[in-house]
């Protein structure tokens, strides 16, 4: 139930964010997490409070899944004072140390060595903290990935590589290039396996399967078995087909049973690949929740997001002196 609420929170957050962008409330490139909710939410629920996480340009969903305040997240993306980083990081760089998110990089694969390093620190301190490294499939094309796999494997470091393979989307590539046009390793898990890192592929629309795989991997790491790799596979959300996200149809839980409100070209995805709608359908089919209960949850998530957006829009921009602050930490 909590999983359901978190997934809907992410979905409404991102849809609302697209609205804010279209209204000109912020500029520049950004990336949304729509279509991957059933990875972050169940996966990160397997973690402990003190674990570390490193994420990427597609971080909003990860933060929210871990319990981030959507108001502070919006505020950051809008460049406001009350953002997680006082507006200095923005959409690509939301870091929230209190949630374990130490550093968020917009450089593809930039966090992989860092995550391995945090795992090294935890091991050196003999703590049982683990580190989760949240990357996209494209990150495996960067040399930083194999270099880091090598070290993580050799030194048996407590790091969990979570690779979200969202199909063929990649901002830097020619539109329409298929994934196989840029990666010779297939399946992707062959790469960590070459480095002797145990690796699994999971359907990223199946929250239960994701949860099971992660619980197991986390347990293994805590037992000292060293690095693990999990790939979750999702189908690209049709709203990400152009360079700027655009919502084909605002998500409503009723779409779980009837997608006729969705424009024809996007319908198939909402019918068979939307992890949030799939999850809801299953909850109801299993009898774990009624449609009314789901609608209630949805409503409260939606309201939380509306309130968060208002909070962010009311937050002032940081003072100009902030621009020159925090280049160096004081001794």
């Amino acid at each position: 139930m909590d999983l359901c609420r978190r997934m809907l929170l992410i979905r409404h957050f991102e849809e609302s964010l697209i609205g804010l962008h279209d209204q000109g409330r912020f500029e520049g490139h950004y990336h949304v997490y729509i279509g991957q909710e059933a990875t972050a939410v169940p996966a990160l629920s397997c973690l402990g409070q003190k674990d570390f996480l490193f994420t990427t340009h597609r971080n909003h969903g990860h933060l929210l899944a871990r319990g981030a305040d959507p108001g502070k997240l919006f505020a950051e993306i809008l460049g406001r004072k009350d953002g997680y980083n006082h507006g200095k990081g923005g959409t690509f760089h939301v870091a929230a140390a209190e949630l374990g998110f130490l550093h968020t990089s917009g450089i593809v694969a930039g966090i992989i060595p860092l995550a391995v390093g945090a795992a090294y620190a935890a091991k050196a301190r003999k703590s049982d903290q683990i580190t989760v490294c949240l990357i996209g499939d494209g990150a495996l094309e960067e040399g930083a990935a194999p270099e880091s796999f090598n070290i993580a494997s050799l030194w048996k470091l407590p790091v969990l590589f979570l690779c979200e393979n969202n199909g063929k989307y990649g901002a830097g590539r020619a539109a329409g290039a298929a994934q196989s046009a840029t990666m010779a390793v297939y399946p992707l898990t062959d790469l960590p396996v070459a480095y002797k890192i145990p690796a699994r592929q999971i359907d990223g629309t199946d929250a239960g399967a994701v949860h099971a795989a992660f619980s197991e991997a986390v347990a293994k790491i805590r037992q000292g078995e060293g690095a693990q790799f999990i790939e979750t596979q999702t189908v690209r959300w049709p709203g990400s087909e152009t360079n700027w996200p655009a919502v084909p149809a605002p998500t409503d839980v009723s779409l779980a049973w009837d997608v006729s409100a969705v424009p024809e070209r996007a319908r198939e995805w909402y019918r068979s690949s939307d992890p949030v709608l799939i999850f809801i359908r299953e909850l109801v089919e299993k009898g774990a929740a009624t449609k009314t209960e789901i609608a209630e949850i949805d409503k409260s998530a939606r309201q939380a997001i509306e309130q968060a957006a208002r909070f962010a829009l009311a937050s002032p921009f940081p003072g100009l002196d902030e621009a020159l602050k925090d280049v160096f930490a004081p001794r």
């Binding site: 912020f26 500029e27 520049g28 490139h29 460049g79 406001r80 006082h86 507006g87 200095k88 990081g89 923005g90 959409t91 690509f92 760089h93 990089s105 917009g106 450089i107 593809v108 694969a109 930039g110 494209g138 990150a139 094309e141 960067e142 040399g143 990649g170 901002a171 830097g172 590539r173 020619a174 290039a177 046009a181 840029t182 990666m183 360079n243 921009f317 940081p318 100009l320 902030e322 621009a323 020159l324 280049v327």
Partner: protein, 322 residues
């Protein structure tokens, strides 16, 4: 003369260089992710075999381009955001730049690396870099900074003809600027600065987008009777220092404007060189208008605060006129 938008002139150059069979384009963001990017598809369609989309492996594909250049091609590589060239740093600064020298003049590496540098609007700390100063500290690389439709066309064509590794440093905020571009073939040789506007009171040396800002400032100050000379080096390696010095000789006052961070930036080198070789001509201290030594913040007002904007240029000009 006909007028073109900057992106049109750039696209024209891109089309024309494809006539040379040795030219291969690697990467597809020459026109950025802006709405203009779709125009690039024309080139892709016309030359599908010579426009390739590499994996997200900048080190690998920049090195590939260098090797291909050594073996006779003329690759033009798009890295899109300037900081992505950091991923390829070992290949660019330690292989391409040294190849001709280390081989005793045997091996040329005529590759062009295209980057979009600078403060572009909410690029934040990681996507707003201007790597050209670091690259200028590395001998063996030619560095090109167009600032007008004519220059982007003529310099891009020249870059492809260069027998040396060349960094083509563009700025996305120039794309919609319009200006005269001669018809037909246009090749602007490297190492020729251009006095973009004549003036006798103060010399403003500016690069890339900051040339346009400086020209605007010159317009504004002209109304007050202050005559600003705007000089654009166009390439810093090679550098046409003579033209810069001649302007300093004329005005005795210098402001240098660029988007690199201040310490060891492009403006530092120009200032140092003028302080060495033009010392006697100076009537006032040299002033630099650059990004300060802070990472570029995301938040729009903070970002503007660290940008070399027109008010900051004006303030600097006034200070050297005092």
């Amino acid at each position: 003369m006909r007028e073109l938008a900057y992106y049109e002139a750039k696209l024209e150059a891109l089309s024309e260089i494809m006539a040379d069979e040795r030219v291969h384009l690697m990467g597809g963001s020459f026109l950025s992710l802006s709405p203009r990017r779709t125009l690039f598809q024309k080139i892709v369609q016309r030359y599908p075999e010579r426009v390739v989309s590499p994996p997200i492996s900048e080190l690998g594909f920049c090195g590939l381009a260098i090797g291909a250049a050594m073996a006779g091609l003329r690759p033009v590589v798009d890295l899109s955001t300037g900081s992505f060239i950091y991923e390829a740093w070992p290949q660019v600064v330690n292989e391409a730049a040294n190849a001709f020298y280390m081989s005793g003049g045997q091996t040329r590496a005529p590759v062009v690396f295209h980057i979009l540098h600078g403060i572009r609007g909410q690029g934040a700390a990681q996507h707003s870099h201007s790597p050209q100063a670091m690259l200028w500290n590395c001998p063996g690389l030619e560095i090109v900074l167009p600032s007008s439709p004519k220059d982007v066309k003529g310099l891009l064509k020249s870059a492809v003809e260069s027998p040396n590794p060349t960094i083509f440093v563009d700025h996305v905020q120039l794309f919609e600027i319009r200006g005269p571009v001669p018809e037909g073939d246009l090749v602007i040789p490297f190492g020729q600065a251009e006095v973009k506007r004549q003036g006798k009171d103060v010399t403003v040396i500016a690069t890339s987008l900051e040339v346009q800002r400086s020209l605007n400032v010159a317009d504004q100050l002209a109304r007050e009777g202050i005559q600003v000379e705007v000089v654009d080096p166009r390439t810093v390696a090679p550098l046409d220092f003579a033209t810069l010095l001649a302007s300093v000789e004329k005005t005795g006052r210098v402001v240098i404007v660029d988007q690199c961070h201040k310490s060891c930036g492009i403006a530092a080198e120009l200032a140092a060189r003028i302080a060495e070789e033009g010392f006697d001509k100076l009537k006032a201290p040299i002033r630099r208008v650059t990004a300060p030594d802070v990472p570029i913040p995301f938040s729009p007002p903070l970002e503007e605060f660290v940008t070399p904007t027109e008010p900051r240029i004006i303030e600097a000009i006034r200070s050297v006129l005092r």
